[in-house]
Symmetry: C2
């Protein structure tokens, strides 16, 4: 049973989703967690070349605050922290797949009818 959307509310709804996914490093982080993978802070530093500690921490905090990633702290010295997707975070897959499918569709549509110039802008 889906909600009812007007042009304005639907745009707002999608914008809220995009805000959760925006951020230079969030998608790379997420794709390293899909499939039930569990990563530690230092794992991400190795898996994602170029990311700074500041950005890694910031993006993880935001994903956690948004309920997409869960953080599990083992209170020991030295500290150990594990990151994994929440159930909702895992449910993101179909939406991302749909985007990839849409991107793939581009080429097939362009090649399907490539000679259809109907007075486009110069």
């Amino acid at each position: 049973m889906g909600k009812i959307y007007t042009p304005a509310t639907a745009a707002v709804g999608v914008e809220e989703v995009l805000r959760l996914l925006e951020g230079r490093w969030k998608l790379i982080i997420l794709f390293h967690l899909f499939g039930g993978q569990v990563q530690r802070y230092s794992d991400f530093e190795k898996l994602i070349p170029g990311i700074s500690q500041k950005m890694l921490a910031q993006q993880l905090r935001q994903l956690e605050a948004d309920g997409i990633v869960s953080r599990k702290l083992y209170p020991q010295v030295p500290p150990k922290v594990e990151y994994r997707l929440t159930e909702w975070g895992q449910a993101l897959c179909p939406a991302l797949d749909a985007m990839l499918k849409w991107a793939e569709k581009r080429e097939s549509l362009l090649s399907a009818h490539d000679g259809d110039a109907t007075q486009e802008s110069s």
Copy 2:
């Protein structure tokens, strides 16, 4: 026939899609074009309160350059311009729907098991 994705390439693929959709006004513009709607430049100015002429033109140019929106110019005085979705642009709907579905899923997952505190961060 879907492509094959690694964590890195899938992230890049989704990022490319997000880049097409990012921009303060693009989604509002798109939702005013879904369903075969056709709009003129001045229509958007009325439909989208608060948008400046600069931003409207810029977002439309980008959507056009990305192949999502098509621009049809009638060479007359005063000029008349119509905007509509390309076939590929219309094909965006399922992807946006998937995002909205995911957002809706959040509440159902939260209410389903709301007492599952497994040592989250303080």
